[in-house]
């Protein structure tokens, strides 16, 4: 087995463990490369099937191509596709682009809060109707007690300290100073009612591993990651007001792998194009403690 085989096997093991242990579980799909690899790994783990719902938190500031790509794949792969949103904050314009909050608060409103209430079932969820291709209100309002998330340890400091199975309390808070032990391949699968667990199958993957795997498996990925002819591409995808493309002429997955290995990005942090990180003092700890992914 080569290194990618080992990473894949470990992620599959974690996914199967999560699917076995949690009655009510979902997977977050941000449409970016990492969670798309995660989705692919679920198809690996479950032999072509995706037996759990995918949840997308729609901030309505996502780059429009992302939404199209989401729905195309969801229909093609027959996914149970859900989205949730912070309707109130959007209606009241409590966002950074509207000029009413700073970046961090905007992230908290549109992502952390929306995620919390979408997972708990308190706020409406919308489900893709495969016959019409439209989203309709989801009648299932159950709380998800297991949430699979595609974060990687190499992204930033607080993520480097994550567990594969990481508990969050009722308020979605993360007690980073007192995390549960994980010995060998035994994870935290028992939890106090009311709390939930975030599952991180991609912790050991680096950005380069992700692209190498996309190349090997030929995973369809949104073209926003490639140079569209203007010498610019997205390295990391988020909301358009806070995510900036990087200068790059990489036109396909092979170019990106090469660029990350030996080229201009070999030593530049991936999230350097994400403005909210800088606002949090260089790390995401503050945001992540209160529920950010």
């Amino acid at each position: 087995m080569n290194y990618l085989d080992k990473l894949e096997a470990q992620s599959v093991y974690i996914l199967r463990e999560a699917y076995r242990e949690f009655k009510s579980i979902c997977m977050l799909w941000s449409i970016g490369k990492d969670s798309t690899v995660l989705l692919w790994l679920a198809r690996k783990a479950f032999f072509g099937h995706v037996p759990l719902p995918l949840v997308h938190i729609d901030t309505h500031y996502k780059i429009p191509e992302m939404i199209n790509y989401r729905d195309e794949l969801a229909l093609q792969w027959k996914l149970t596709m859900l989205y949730g949103e912070n309707a109130t904050a959007l209606a009241q314009k409590q966002t950074f682009p509207d000029g009413n909050t700073d970046r961090i608060t905007c992230c908290r409103n549109l992502k952390s809060e929306a995620l919390k209430h979408t997972l708990s079932g308190e706020w409406p969820r919308y489900i893709l109707d495969h016959s019409s291709g439209q989203y309709v209100p989801d009648l299932n309002r159950e709380q998800y007690t297991g949430v699979i998330v595609g974060v990687r340890a190499d992204e930033e400091g607080s993520r480097s300290k994550e567990r594969y199975f990481s508990p969050r309390d009722q308020e979605n808070d993360w007690d980073v100073g007192d995390q549960p032990p994980e010995f060998w391949n035994q994870f935290k699968t028992d939890f106090v009612p009311g709390t939930h667990i975030r599952i991180h199958p991609l912790l050991d993957w680096t950005e380069l591993n992700i692209w190498e795997y996309i190349e090997r498996e030929q995973i369809p990925i949104t073209p926003l990651y490639f140079d569209q002819g203007n010498g610019k591409r997205y390295r990391s995808l988020g909301c358009y007001p806070c995510t900036f493309p990087v200068e790059s002429t990489a036109r396909n997955v092979g170019d990106i792998v090469e660029e990350l290995k030996n080229g201009k990005f070999a030593k530049i942090a991936e999230r350097s194009g994400r403005a909210q990180d800088q606002d949090d003092g260089g790390g995401l700890e503050t945001l992540r403690k209160s529920g950010y992914m």
Partner: protein, 717 residues
């Protein structure tokens, strides 16, 4: 390759990694400058450790709290370096980090020398199965790069590592702060000719693939996804050792169900016939057998794992509450989850001195202990010396993983019934693991090397043929005598441990079993009851059998006696038991049939009935009634109708202390309700009781009301 950095607090682990990342050019651009800027802004000297200690609390306190992954890559391979905290308070985080690693760098401060956690971490690294350990003697600049200081630590620590079965790969003198011998050879240690840290990392061997070992695949799940007309029933799991091919005969343990591998399944891969250790796979089987997640799949024609419910283990405990006996925990091994109890603490090892303490009654936080566990039913595993990956487990206490360990061996096993005396002696120790023996119905007797073997009986019932068998065994394996116990069982004295397994087999063939002593539900006693006895009101013998099936041998804080007597004559003395049942009959007066003859009132022994013939009046006081049923049986005119039921007594004692059981409930009429009462009582004792405390004393301590409340919920008044 995953590598963990361990060692005592402040010996410079994070600095080593920070230096390694910086000097190999593995840091993102601007990261070094950013951390330097942060230090300047906060008026503190720059430290490489700040590159790793990403949490705000960590930077504020200058210590690593949680384990962190750092990634770097050489031409040879990808590395994940795991920075583990050295402070004792964060031991669980250290073990979390270390259990993911294939090799360990153990950092020792040249000036401070070997400290408590240098040793504790060394020992845990050994237990975790990490065989490659490189010792970095750090802060050499503080001892003027002196070779003597280095040699002293090398000598002393090599000796220690040998004691915990580690052959260190190398000792390297470094100064992480100054960068000596990290990526480049230092001019300050010309006396040292070995590799730098980086060279040493590149020289470590990846863990050998375990394909040459027998197949072990814990069944993680069984999938039947029907979407799109998929008809496959897939057994999914990760192969821990060995290899599997289609056509292989496999057996699932502990259920012992067999089948043949039909296909190896996957998604987006070439079809294939074989899969090997490390792969997360799925297989389909030729026959549809019912197996459950948690079973271990092995090959029929390869060495079989052990299957046993008693295991001897080494474990480290990181739980907030100590590990104690008579409490249910959850054991997770492979994909199995099962209830487990601590049976015996053999040794507690002081990690720092490697002293052995056998006197402790519980395993405290951060202790390393050798002990015996018993699972609720047998589990399949390999002793750690045979196959590592199937010999590791964790213990869950109150939702949290609180300990982890390795299995040394099975204590008594259904897979190897030919246990010999020597082996038993070795396992149990000369002083004896009395608890395990008691559970198997053995009691030490005055004569050395002889044991009394007790039989499992219910209500004193035994078939004549069985009794002949018992006689035969007593003659052949004992000294020809038997003893009838005070509680209706039979004991055979003068049995040797070496004969135990044979004797058990002979018993089993005759439908008999050894009994249980110790802290558990003991022999169920009963009188003959209404099936034989004219006075009997309930079928005590049948009830005793039910009780025996349901409750016998159940683990509790102390011994627990259940007795059943058929009527208020009380031949079996219900009130002397921890829980006693007495047959009763609730009378109901049928006025229309009564001629007020007064026979019932004359026979009543508790003044519950008064009859006035002249006034043609009868008064029945239920509060006085003993439910003996005499009135019902004696009435010539069916003026009393009776309903048979159960009276239950709680907390009787008849040993050093004597106390009569109390009746807490009105008469119960359904057997199912009676079982609920017994279940509730046993669960109550299990939860509230302390070791070596009889049930009554538990009730006295926590209050009878507490039990009363729970019973009231079960029994509708």
């Amino acid at each position: 390759m995953n590598i963990v950095i361990v060692g005592h607090v402040d010996h410079g682990k994070s600095t080593v990694i920070g230096r390694l990342l910086a000097d190999t050019g593995s840091l993102p651009e601007g990261k070094l400058a950013a951390v330097k800027g942060y230090c300047q802004k906060n008026a503190r000297p720059f430290e490489y450790a700040f590159l790793l200690d990403a949490l705000k609390d960590e930077q504020a306190q200058g210590i690593t709290i949680d384990t962190a992954r750092c990634f770097f890559k050489t031409n040879k391979r990808d590395y994940i370096i795991i920075d583990a905290p050295g402070h004792i308070e964060f031991l669980k985080n250290m073990v979390t980090g270390a259990s993911r690693a294939e090799a360990a760098l153990l950092v020792i401060d040249a000036q401070e020398g070997i400290k408590e956690n240098s040793k504790r971490h060394g020992q845990i690294v050994s237990m975790l199965g990490i065989r490659q350990v490189v010792v970095l003697v750090n802060k050499m600049d503080l001892v003027n790069y002196g070779q003597d200081a280095f040699n002293l630590i090398t000598q002393e620590f090599t000796e220690f590592l040998h004691q915990v079965n580690i052959q260190p790969v190398n000792f390297i003198p470094i100064s992480a702060f100054n960068g000596d011998n990290i990526t480049t050879r230092s001019a300050n240690t010309l006396w040292y000719s070995g590799p730098t840290v980086l060279e040493q990392l590149e020289g470590l061997a990846n863990r050998k693939t375990t394909t040459e070992l027998p197949l072990r695949m814990p069944v993680q799940d069984i999938y039947k996804f029907t979407a799109g007309g998929d008809k496959r029933r897939i057994v999914a799991g990760t192969i821990l050792s060995g290899a599997i091919s289609s056509g292989d005969q496999v057996v699932f343990l502990p259920s012992h169900k067999k089948s043949i591998v039909k296909s190896i399944e996957g998604f987006n891969i070439q079809p294939r016939e074989r899969a090997a250790a490390g792969e997360a796979v799925g297989i389909t089987l030729e026959t549809q057998i019912y197996i459950k997640p948690g079973e271990l799949m092995v090959k029929v024609n390869e060495k079989q794992p052990a299957v046993s419910s008693q295991i001897k283990v080494n474990l480290f405990w990181v739980g907030k509450a100590p590990l104690v006996k008579n409490k249910n925990y959850k054991l997770k091994i492979g994909t199995t989850r099962i209830a487990v109890q601590l049976v015996e603490i053999l040794n507690i090892i002081d990690a720092t001195e490697l002293n052995v303490n056998t006197l402790k009654e519980q395993v405290e936080r951060h202790d390393v202990a050798e002990c015996i566990f018993e699972t609720a039913s047998p589990i399949a595993f390999d002793p750690i010396s045979v196959i590592e990956l199937t010999g590791r487990f964790v213990i869950v206490d109150n939702y949290e993983i609180s300990g982890g360990g390795i299995i040394i061996e099975a204590v008594s096993s259904s897979a190897n019934p030919g246990t010999k005396e020597g082996q038993v002696r070795e396992i149990l120790g000369e002083k004896g693991n009395q608890q395990a023996l008691k559970r198997n119905g053995l009691m030490r007797q005055v004569q050395p090397n002889y044991w009394v073997l007790r039989l499992r009986m219910a209500g004193g019932q035994i078939q004549a043929e069985q009794l002949l068998k018992v006689a035969e065994i007593a003659q052949r394996y004992g000294q020809g005598s038997l003893h009838l116990t005070a509680r209706q069982s039979i004991e055979i004295p003068f049995i040797k441990l070496a004969d135990l397994e044979v004797v058990k087999k002979e018993f089993l063939a005759a439908g008999l079993q050894p009994g249980a002593g110790g802290a558990r539900v003991r022999t169920i006693t009963a009188c003959q009851g209404s099936t034989i006895c004219a006075r009997g009101l309930i079928e005590t013998t049948a009830l005793a059998k039910e009780f025996d099936q349901r409750y016998y041998g159940r683990e509790l804080p102390h011994k627990f006696k259940l007795g059943i007597t058929g009527c208020s004559n009380n031949c079996l003395k219900a009130e002397e038991n921890d829980l006693g049942v007495k047959g009763g009959m609730q009378p109901e007066w049928v006025e229309s049939n009564c001629n007020f003859c007064g026979i019932c009132a004359a026979l009543c022994r508790s003044q519950a009935i008064t009859v006035d013939k002249e006034k043609a009046a009868l008064v029945y006081r239920e509060t006085n009634c003993h439910y003996c049923g005499r009135c019902v049986k004696a009435c010539p005119r069916q003026a009393w109708k009776g309903s048979e039921g159960f009276l239950v007594y709680f907390g009787g004692l008849f040993g050093n202390q004597i106390a009569i059981g109390k009746q807490l409930l009105p008469i119960i009429f359904s057997t199912e309700e009676l079982h609920q009462v017994v279940e509730t009582t046993l669960a109550f004792f299990k939860k509230q009781g302390k070791a070596k405390e009889r049930f009554r004393n538990t009730l006295n301590r926590v209050g009878w009301k507490l039990l009363q409340q729970e019973l009231d919920e079960v029994v509708r008044r």
